[in-house]
Amino acid sequence: MRAFRYARATDPGAAAALVTSQPDAVYLGGGTNLVDLMKLGVLRPGLVVDVSRLPYDRIEHLPDGGVLIGGAARNRRVAHDEGIRRRYPALARALLSGASGQIRSQATVAGNLLQRTRCPYFQNTATPCNKRDPGSGCSAIPGAHRDLGVIGTSEHCVATHPSDLAVALAAYDAVVEVRRPDGAEVLVPIGDLHRLPGDTPWIETVLEPGDLVTGVQLPPPPDGAVATYRKVRDRWSFAFATVSVAAVLSTDQVRLALGGVAPKPWRLTATERMLAGTDPSDDDVRAATRAAFTDARPLPENAFKIELAADLVAAVLRDLRTAGAVR
């Protein structure tokens, strides 16, 4: 492990100054992803700037029914917040379905959104990986890719973004608050935060060096909406999603976002349009979900994810309807 310096930022300006002071400086949230990757030699920062104690840990419910969640708020606190549980159940469930109690207590909202892919080759410095080592090639495409992406991927990279939180935020149309090093505040819709790999898989987000994620804003959920998050995984706790879905359903609209299938939380806009205001059968939902995968690039071991997603979306919408909450 390479020796590195650690600094604790006292205010966002100082944090940005520190992190832009040298090219190999990074922000540190709860460290549950960054520190692991440092131990593995995947990331070798020279300076780690701890932003977990900056005053961005609010959970503020707004009069309009929306909520502001600070980037330094710990996942556990957000998941157990009474207002979040009541008004944004898919968000609470997504968080609770992720990692373990210990990790959730440590992990921050910003860190969760910016955590790196779990692609095993990205995490193993002894193998080629275009994301870690540009131009070295993708080991996953000809190798073990069962857990990786089927859509939005490229011939250079099939990594998925592993966050459950991001998937729920996508379904709630959340916006990410970013503080630029010059102090400017920028709002980035969650769907625009992560970039698709194309031929530059090492560029993962639209953030620029020194950009600090200070929070997320959730607009009020649609009137009378019911919502949930369901996650298929290889065991019933403490596993990343094979496929997951966040669904928000109201009388006139349905919003669907998938996890486990793409390099970012994957909104099913085509499906949503086909289903909005209809009373679809399970088969209609499956067909509409499949339609969102026309541009998919499934690989031999993960092609099953598309049909699984179709079944999962059908099941979740069926459950939300029969829960009786949609009138």
Binding site: M1, A3, L40, Y121, A144, D234, S237
Partner: protein
Amino acid sequence: MTAGSGLSRLEGHDKVTGAARYAYEYPVEDVLYVWPVGATVASGTVTEVDSTAALADPEVVAVIDHTNAPRLLPAVTADELVLQSPTVAYRGQIVAAVVATTIEAAQEGAEQVLVRYVEHGHKVVLDPEDPDLEQPETTNAGFPGTSIKGDVDAALAAADVVVDTVYTTPAQHNNPMETVAIIARWDGERLLLHDSNQGPWAAATAFGMLWGIPPSQVDVVTEHVGGGFGSKVWPTAGAVVATVAARVTGRPCKLMLTRQQMYTMAPARTATRSRIRLGARSDGTLTAIDHDALQYSSVIHEFVEQTGSATRTMYASDNLRIRHRLARLNLPTPRVMRAPGKTPGMFALESAMDELAYALDLDPLALRLRNEPATEPASGLPFDGRHLVDCLQAGADKFGWASRDPTPGARRRGRWLFGTGLASAMYPVYQQGGKATARAEPDGTFDVWVAAVDIGTGSRTALWQAAVDALGVPPSQVSIHIGHSAYGQAALAGGSAGTASWGGAVRKACLELSRRVAEHGGAVPSDGLEVTADTAEDQLAPDRARHSYGAHFCAVRVDADTGQVRVDRLLGVFAHGHALNARTTHSQLLGGMVMGVSMALCEQTVVDPRLGLFVNHDLAQYHVATNADIRGLEAHSLERADDDVTLVGGKGIGELGIVGSAAAVANAVFHATGVRVRDLPITPERVRAR
């Protein structure tokens, strides 16, 4: 009387408070840290190890490779002969080691070492069409590679019903909480080790062989061990490299493998492929059993998993054929993992029995009862305590099996499909000779020494109870000392034989000591009384088939939307005779059952064929079952007097619980869904592949 009681562990308080010291935690002055470098090709020759950059760090003391490592002598497997040649037999094989004054510098040094290779072609996939398959003479634990009784082919041709199916299990890795850990020191020609292993005497013997010194010159202290499951039975490549580093630097050296390193520098279980053919008459009488088992070893050492060995003994059939074939792959030599051979082999056999029951339209329990043998099918030996039927019947009662409707895929509530399945379990009785010493002091206290090890099973406590019982004195007067090779020749914690073997010697020494104390009229002379017992001559004659038995009954629910499986209930009934400690016995049985569910639903080491890589080498990716995966778990013991065959009574229990449990889960999944998953683990996509 303490034996059999559910006494909690003697060292439990020390363990939960952190006071218990594990191998890596002994303070040693002037110690150096060792970080092994694994090969990044699956097959090839090292042409250069460039250590210039690593050695530029003043904290790095040495970089060792095959050109400057001292010579070792063959001991147990070729994998332990670290840094002896430039040949790379598998990815991750140790090709260099960095020794430094801090662990960080050692790790960083390892990243700076530049190894160049000439790559050769490699083969890492178990393939029944592999033209180079070998037919081994014998398997692990000394079973014949091939055994044939009667005419299987003719019997299959004449059978009313034939089941002919293939079952596969993936490579699986031992993941003890404490990884391989060692502190090594040389004192002249004496090797002093604090080492995490499954038998300090065996470790002393094997390290002695490697270094060409007698075991008496190797001092191994193994006070506490955080699990083994088979990975620490013999010195691992990882541990040996620390002794090499200590030799080269002349200073104490310590090493603890990372979780990732465990996947190639410590042993795993082979992948297996079992083709099972069962022939039966329409009344359910088996007429033929054929088990064709394929497994792999490395290209540098022959290890043959005894995959077909349980099939030798389970069910009556006049025609029985068991064959083992071996592929040689560019992977680390696989070794033992809890219930080697029995675990993958019984997944296959017990799944096939379920398939046969369906083919015959017979209850799976009835099918097993119908084929209960009078003598052991392969050997013809009479049984000592065959209690399979007792276990099956007791389990059926407790579980409520009788009311089961066998129709597959017929029970749905909401999103859930429900099903139940059963499977048999067996594990052989092993016991080995060894020594123990008991000593009486004039103040009325007693000390007992045996080179046993407690890898988390509770053996220390059980042995202490055995000593207290045999001495017949108040427990507070007896102290037990284990975990040191200096206490004399002793068995390994392996083959479920540890506690039985050590306990036999402890009991013998204590009984003899009591007799000697009685000879002195109960008054211990001022210089004390001491007895060393050896049970080498007291071993079981090979005239009986002696096994523990069990039966698993499993209820699962399967998510009809997604194919996810959850175990609602797993109930095991086991016949293992007298339990030295009821509580730790129960824990061992439960632990085995949980490991079987893990095997059924999650565990697999994914191999990348192109890179020759174990892909998912950490516990975030290599999944084992969590509490959420198993809602109900029960283990019951049937005590049967004729099971008390070892010197301390009883039979081994450490491995029994895992055997068959994966098949019970798979059989229940079939009953729930109508989908027969023959390839483990049972992932959602496999359940969905209808």
